[in-house]
């Protein structure tokens, strides 16, 4: 256990006290004489014990009573005429409560200034447990989560591989089809299903013959994989191709270690799909009316340009992710701090929201985001730990290089998200503010700036990039049962409902 004492200021305080007797006006700015003991149970946690000296308590009490005196109302006396002794005995409790608050507040702010650690959470302080004693110093303690200390690795001049790709018209075609699918209509189909078709199914999951979850009339698209919140069916396409209405298909798959149902983590469960209906997707025609409905495009060329832009942005996202991963692996090589499980648990939903927001900005559509969200949820603990470490390092660089988010950056960011989701910037902003994601956004901006900075100083080696084949269909259902946290994208604006309806 590492213990540090901060008593060096004591002599200084006495010196100051001497000089202050001459000019009592300066007394308010006098720092508190605190004795702080910091214990570190782990790299990210600090247990702080603070002792406030008696002189400081007396000084605060004195100030409080002096302030109260002119307005003290004691029976038998005109207001402000009661003797001090009487006021002190009558208002003792009230004043104690008041100075407790101000002492705590002042000492906390002083500690945060004096101490070298950077807090990442509010101090966990039990207010009711703290009492101002009649004599002797006041002691209180609290737990706080801090950014771990680490040696800054050399990031200037880092060698980084960057995925690069020029998008061809074929790529655009592929993406256009995906986009059109959003506006497509589902037409019933009598024959057997093939890959890319939609199925209306009843999903029943069971373990050892016991039914766990049942979802009725769920619409699925046949893709290579099917992901649940807590697991993945690998050969979904192989399983379902050729299915007709009335068919039943079964498959076993393994739950992940992060499944909400703790009893079944890592166990194999059985899932049965009862096909109710097969549907094919009919794409809409690319006429003028449809183009203007999609977002004020005049010609098909405009639409293609827009798609190209969006692809480029996705590439940019991919680049950023890759670069980020490389940078973080480079930086975290020497940093093997332990993150406390409590912190991970609390941060994981935040982290998820952050990632979803990043994806949204990069122009992924809601279905794709949901698929990725499920993957993230499946190995949330590991990914949270990784991204938290990344976050700490980037934040540290930002601090060292004085990088801050400006108001203009916020505007730009909101505008970009608005453009991606096709909503008005005002509404997007209101939504972000309402869900308290402004912090997340700010972090994101700062991190992007840092990444840009690191990239400026990095040496790049280009590498061709193959876009990830999007072949995962997502079901927002925990197959193993058990209450999981509600989905982030469920509460988000549903712009792409049409893929499922």
């Amino acid at each position: 256990m590492q213990r540090e004492k901060f008593m060096a200021d004591e002599e200084l305080d006495e010196l100051q006290a001497d000089t202050l007797t001459a000019e009592p006006e300066g007394e308010e700015d006098k720092p508190l004489n605190l004795e702080v003991e910091v214990a570190s149970p782990s790299d990210c946690e600090r247990h702080v014990t603070v002792t406030v000296s008696r002189e400081d308590i007396d000084r605060y009490m004195n100030d409080a009573y002096s302030e109260l005196m002119p307005s003290a109302n004691v029976p038998g006396f005109r207001i402000g005429r009661a003797p001090r002794k009487l006021v002190e005995s009558k208002f003792k409790k009230q004043i104690a409560e008041q100075i407790k608050g101000s002492l705590l507040l002042d000492s906390l702010s002083q500690i945060s200034e004096e101490q070298s650690f950077t807090a990442i959470s509010e101090p966990d302080l039990n207010l009711d447990a703290v009492e101002v004693p009649d004599d002797g110093p006041m002691t209180f303690e609290f737990d706080i989560e801090v950014r771990p200390e680490f040696d800054m690795p050399k990031w200037k001049g880092a060698k980084i591989e960057r995925p690069v790709r020029e998008f061809t018209p074929a790529d655009v075609d592929l993406h256009l089809e995906k986009m059109l699918a959003r506006y497509g209509q589902l037409v019933p189909h009598d024959g057997p299903a093939s890959e890319g078709d939609y199925l209306t199914v009843n999903i029943t999951t069971s373990h050892d013959g016991k039914q766990l979850e049942k979802e009725e009339e769920h619409v699925l698209r046949i893709r290579q994989k099917l992901s649940f919140r807590d697991g993945e069916v690998a050969d979904f396409a192989k399983l379902m191709v050729g299915a007709k209405a009335g068919d039943r298909r079964k498959v076993d798959f393994e739950l992940t270690q992060d499944a909400p149902n703790e009893d079944l983590r890592g166990k194999k469960i059985n899932v049965e799909f009862e096909v109710l209906e097969v549907k094919k997707l009919k794409l809409p025609e690319l006429n003028e009316e449809f183009l203007s409905e999609m977002g004020d495009f005049k010609t098909e060329g405009d639409l293609r340009d827009a798609i190209n832009d969006s692809l480029n942005r996705q590439l940019e996202y991919e680049q950023q992710q890759k670069i980020r991963a490389q940078i973080s692996s480079l930086l975290t090589k020497s940093a093997d701090w332990q993150l406390p499980p409590g912190l991970l648990k609390r941060q994981s939903s935040r982290e998820l929201e952050r990632t979803v927001m990043e994806l949204r900005r990069a122009g992924f559509n809601e279905a794709e985001i949901r698929a990725r969200e499920n993957t993230l949820r499946q190995n949330s603990a590991a990914s949270t730990a990784r991204s938290l470490k990344e976050h700490f390092i980037l934040e540290r660089i930002a601090e060292d290089e004085n990088i801050e988010a400006q108001e203009g950056d916020f505007e730009k960011e909101v505008l970009l998200i608005a453009m991606q989701s096709g909503e008005s910037p005002r509404r997007v902003r209101a939504q972000i503010e309402k869900r308290g994601l402004m912090d997340v956004l700010q972090n994101q901006i700062v991190e992007r700036k840092v990444l840009e900075l690191v990239q400026e100083h990095a040496k790049f080696a280009d590498k061709p990039y193959e876009p990830e084949a999007f072949d995962v269909e997502a079901v927002n259902l925990a197959a193993g049962g058990g209450e999981g946290p509600t989905s982030v994208s469920e509460s988000a604006p549903e712009t792409s409902e049409s893929t499922e309806s």
Partner: protein, 104 residues
């Protein structure tokens, strides 16, 4: 000639029965600092001698003189209900210069 002569009674009042409570007021504070005199609410049956004895016993001081006043209760009214606060008796006790009472 005293305006109120306490009823002759066979009850002997104990010191804590004589002194009901100290009167802590602005005027009282002034008297205590200027004249070393302290005001108390006392039993209506108590005489000056009773008060002197009681104060000397309770506070362990020497009493020089005692003034007493009978205070009439005030009329009180809530809607149609007429009432009266109770009559009470006050004593102002002057102490010897060497003695003081800390009332709070």
């Amino acid at each position: 000639m005293p305006r109120h002569i306490p009823q002759a009674t066979s009850i002997i009042l104990q010191p804590h029965q004589v002194i009901l409570k100290p009167l802590v007021t602005e005027k009282g504070m002034h008297r205590s600092t200027r004249n070393n005199a302290y005001a108390f609410e006392i039993n209506r049956l108590a005489t000056k001698q009773d008060v002197k004895r009681a104060v000397e016993e309770l506070f362990e001081v020497r009493v020089l003189k005692v003034h007493t006043q009978n205070r009439k209760g005030k009329p009180r009214r809530t809607k149609m209900q007429l009432g009266h606060t109770k009559d009470w008796k006050k004593a102002i006790v002057t102490l010897d210069d060497e003695h003081r009472i800390e009332l709070f």
